[in-house]
Assembly symmetry: C2
């Protein structure tokens, strides 16, 4: 960021974007860190950069980056001869990776419905409703996987179209 006014604008955006991420189930601090890493101009951050940039305690960053690394949204790098890890938001395919974990959640959904069908049986209204639920969720999972897989090619196609 270039100056203080810009920084305030950035932080306001970070909070707004993080809010949406939180509504999608992400804990507050990881959401803020992700939004900040996305919107600020640097492409690598130490934990300290993030703490100062977001004006939160280093302790909060520590937990947040651990979770983000865990789910693959941030990667940890160590530059030889330096004391701190560097956190990189690998923006190429970032959202595909994000969706991969959402797809896993959807799959758990399908499994839960399946287990219900097993114990209830298909000869009861409840079981039949669960079967339709399972079918829809499975359909959605397939469609989403497909869409996510198609995105990189689609993006490049669009970029090429703009470039000409």
């Amino acid at each position: 960021m270039t100056d203080d006014g810009e920084r305030i604008v950035l932080l306001r955006f970070v909070e707004r974007f993080a809010l949406v991420l939180r509504e999608a189930g992400m804990p507050p601090m990881p959401a803020r860190v992700l939004a900040y890493a996305l919107a600020d101009d640097a492409d690598r951050y130490t934990a300290g950069d993030l703490a100062r940039g977001l004006d939160v305690s280093p302790a909060a960053i520590s937990g947040a980056v651990r979770q983000l690394v865990q789910v693959g949204l941030l990667t940890r790098q160590r530059e030889p001869g330096t004391r701190s890890d560097l956190y990189v938001l690998d923006d190429r395919d970032l959202w595909s990776r994000f969706m991969a974990s959402e797809l896993q959640a959807l799959q758990r959904f399908v499994t839960a419905a399946e287990d219900g069908i097993e114990v209830l049986g298909l000869d009861r209204p409840g079981g039949r409703r669960l079967a339709e639920t399972r079918d829809f969720l499975a359909f959605l999972h397939a469609e989403l996987s497909d869409a996510v897989a198609r995105w990189p090619a689609e993006r490049d196609r669009r970029a090429a179209a703009h470039g000409t």
Copy 2:
């Protein structure tokens, strides 16, 4: 449900399914009510039915059904000459309606990214990352809308295939 053993099995399933719904962002009590209405055999419930069936306080049901009606997953009906509202899980297209609200959330996501691009500008790495985020999310929104719209026909096609 036919007997007590079955009821325990049902409630266990309800908790498991509700857990998945909660992980998807739904508050606990609405998640339980939805799972119960889905898996139990009745197709209409009074608030009292739900309270007794789930063994929770009527107060908890009151709040839960309000939220579910709000998002369109449950509809309220009033039988003439009766004291209680009836809650109906309109299972036809239930999940399409569920997805409609998810799609709205996704749209808010797109909007948030868009606002960020506006304040940051496209001439900075942060702005460019946000632009790619917006493009992906918009793509996903379109693909999902499309898939949801195709589902009813797809389901009927499958049913017909099985029937022959």
